[in-house]
């Protein structure tokens, strides 16, 4: 496929073939390094999905801001003076200069360096040099009601800030769906929620989908790719025989992996992965009975997960010192596409805001040793993904359908039956063992999106008589 409608009698299959193959679990290898596919994704995946841009704990005070991107669109994610979180498109209404060129900070106003237009941190235009002389004052160009373009939609869940470029998109709670049940494990261990630190940012020559798929459900890679971290005593869990006892689940717009824990109560199992009693008490208050049952009765502990399209989570419990004690950590990450073969990884450390200070330190240490730019797990993952992406860019990759049917028999029946509600209290569909159900769920969602155009919203003009599509300028 080189374009949505196929190109000039090319023997390559068109979009419908691509989508059909993906739905059959046979993944055209070139989708991991194809400019035309990437352009479709920009419009139809990133143009309509809710995309994570930060957490409220990153901007706790009025004026605090971080600048984040959705592909090439830069947004100032800021808490205004009234405490409201906003996301402004980082482009001056006048000549299009970025009004904020820092990555983070605190500002009451953003002033364009080009001609000096300035905006309050709630986005409103307040400063316009020579407004009277150059524009004829309010009568000529009304400043009132002018503001930096807001993200078409913005909403939060447990302090996670999401924006969506499609003004007609479904509300965030509907988009997340039942994945919220699992999001709470990562982001609501207490009523206070998490605090997010970072992100570490680095670029990898890999397609963005690979990381999202891997975190969504790839338990199969763990014993092989990460053999070294078991050998050096960093993380005892990923031995092959143990990893396959875990369950994967898919619910709403996301899915993830779990480890099966040794027998015990809710509290004993959380102690087993290193949580102090004080935090376990908070979890009892914060999580629903069903959320507690997944751990306490069913015996599954969340590990990696992905939320479509490009946000992932990890929760592991390595050893960080010479003692046998383990320490859990949480990381939130985003696979920010740069191009069809390059991704910027943003990796944050997350920790419960009211966790004991000593726990926060050790959990941070656990994170640094395992994940992020220098993490010992992450190092080997990226090596694989870079290699895959590079190879996917050639002509032979266009002839290869990658087999992503693990967990399915030839006739489409599942190798392992879905867990019943009595076996797994969480929503969605869960199964024990190695499979690629989740990777297929993620890519099926992707296929649904790239097969469906996004209506292009008209331009929002600037000025007292903004021109809209179909209108004749005064």
């Amino acid at each position: 496929m080189t374009a949505a409608n196929g190109s000039g009698g090319s023997p390559e299959p068109g979009l419908s073939d691509l989508v059909g193959n993906v739905r059959n679990g046979m993944i055209p290898a070139h989708i991991y390094n194809d400019r035309a596919v990437f352009e479709l994704e920009a419009e139809r995946v990133f143009g309509r999905s809710w995309i994570f841009v930060g957490h409220e704990s990153e901007i706790p005070a009025p004026g605090d801001y971080v600048v984040r991107r959705v592909l090439k669109d830069s947004f100032i994610v800021v808490r205004d003076e009234a405490g409201q979180v906003r996301a402004h498109f980082n482009m001056c209404l006048h000549r299009g200069m970025q009004v904020c060129r820092a990555e983070m900070g605190n500002a009451s106003h953003f002033r364009c360096p080009y001609h000096g237009w300035s905006y309050r941190n709630d986005g409103r235009l307040v400063g316009l040099p020579f407004h009277q002389d150059a524009y004829g004052g309010e009568a000529g160009f009304g400043r009132k009601n002018q503001r930096l373009l807001p993200a078409p939609k913005l909403d939060t869940y447990n302090g996670l800030i999401f924006i969506c470029l499609d003004p007609e998109a479904e509300p965030l709670p509907d988009f997340l769906g039942d994945f919220r049940f699992y999001l709470d494990y990562y982001t609501k261990q207490s009523a206070a929620g998490i605090e997010l630190r970072g992100p570490q940012r680095w670029r990898i020559k890999a397609n963005w989908k690979i990381g999202a798929e891997n975190f969504a459900g790839d338990m199969y890679h763990t014993p092989q790719t990460h053999a070294s971290v078991v050998e050096i005593g960093l993380f005892r869990e990923p031995r092959a025989e143990k990893r396959k006892d875990g369950a994967t689940y898919w619910a709403g717009s996301g899915g993830g992996t779990t480890y099966k824990l040794p027998p015990g109560t809710f509290a004993e199992r959380l102690r087993y992965v290193g949580y102090p009693d004080q935090m376990i008490e908070q979890m009892k208050q914060s999580w629903s009975a069903a959320q507690q049952r997944v751990i306490g009765a069913d015996g599954f502990m969340i590990s990696a997960a992905s939320l479509y399209p490009n946000m992932s989570f990890v929760h592991n419990w390595p050893r960080v010192g010479t003692s046998e004690d383990v320490l859990p950590f949480i990381s939130i990450r985003q696979w920010q596409p740069v191009s069809e073969n390059e991704t910027e990884v943003l990796s944050w450390f997350a920790v419960d805001a009211v966790a004991p200070e000593e726990f926060k330190k050790l959990s941070y240490k656990a994170y640094l040793m395992c994940f992020g730019s220098s993490g010992m797990f992450e190092q080997d993952d990226v090596e694989n993904w870079v290699s895959l992406t590079s190879t996917a860019g050639g002509s032979m990759a266009r002839r290869l359908l990658l087999n992503s049917r693990m967990g399915l028999l030839c006739d489409g029946a599942a190798v392992a039956t879905a867990l019943s509600a009595a076996q797994f209290a969480g929503p969605g569909s869960a199964r024990v063992g190695y499979s690629e159900h989740n990777q297929r769920a993620l890519l099926n969602r992707w296929a649904d999106d790239i097969a469906t155009p996004v209506p292009c919203p008209g331009p929002a003009g600037t000025g007292s008589a903004p021109m809209r599509a179909g209108e004749v300028p005064a």
Binding site: M104, P199, S228, S374
Partner: protein, 192 residues
Amino acid sequence: MTRREAGRAVLGGSAPAQQRTGRPLPFGDDRHLQAHQWLVDEAYLLDSGEYESWLDLLADDIHYHMPVRVTTALGAGFDTAPGMAHFDEDKYSLSRRVARFMTEHAWTEDPPSRQRHFVTNVRTFATQDADHLIAESAVLLFRSRGDVNEAALVSAGREDLLRRAGPGWLLARRTITVDESVIRMQNLAVFL
């Protein structure tokens, strides 16, 4: 974690605290020559992957810290991400990183990268304690993997605390000031 605390390591609270005094030592000073040679010898060990020998050059109480740099407005008063680093290591965590490279399953370095640490701009300072020196340097790491992808570079400044140990010196503290906010290298399976 407030912005004022940016740049301060989360870990390493018990790291050795000696600070520089006065002007840089003259280039002909024996202490400067020793520090410079130490840095060049260290670069050789890193380039040749002799990580266990490198580990022997580190003091048991070492703090090895590489903050995450961020772009901030002039006058913001900080240019590192509060409470986050690429490395915030002690001897144990560094020893695990080295041990991993010694396994047969550290895929990211099998086949190994070709690395070259270019070390320059060395300045040495005395501390209040004759057994400790501060050595500043710039390091440019060139790393090439395989034959398809372009090589990657990391540029950084370093401030090292060297401690006299017998006839030689041990590294007791290192702060790595990387020059990019977004690292253009697939991972930091390297030491700087």
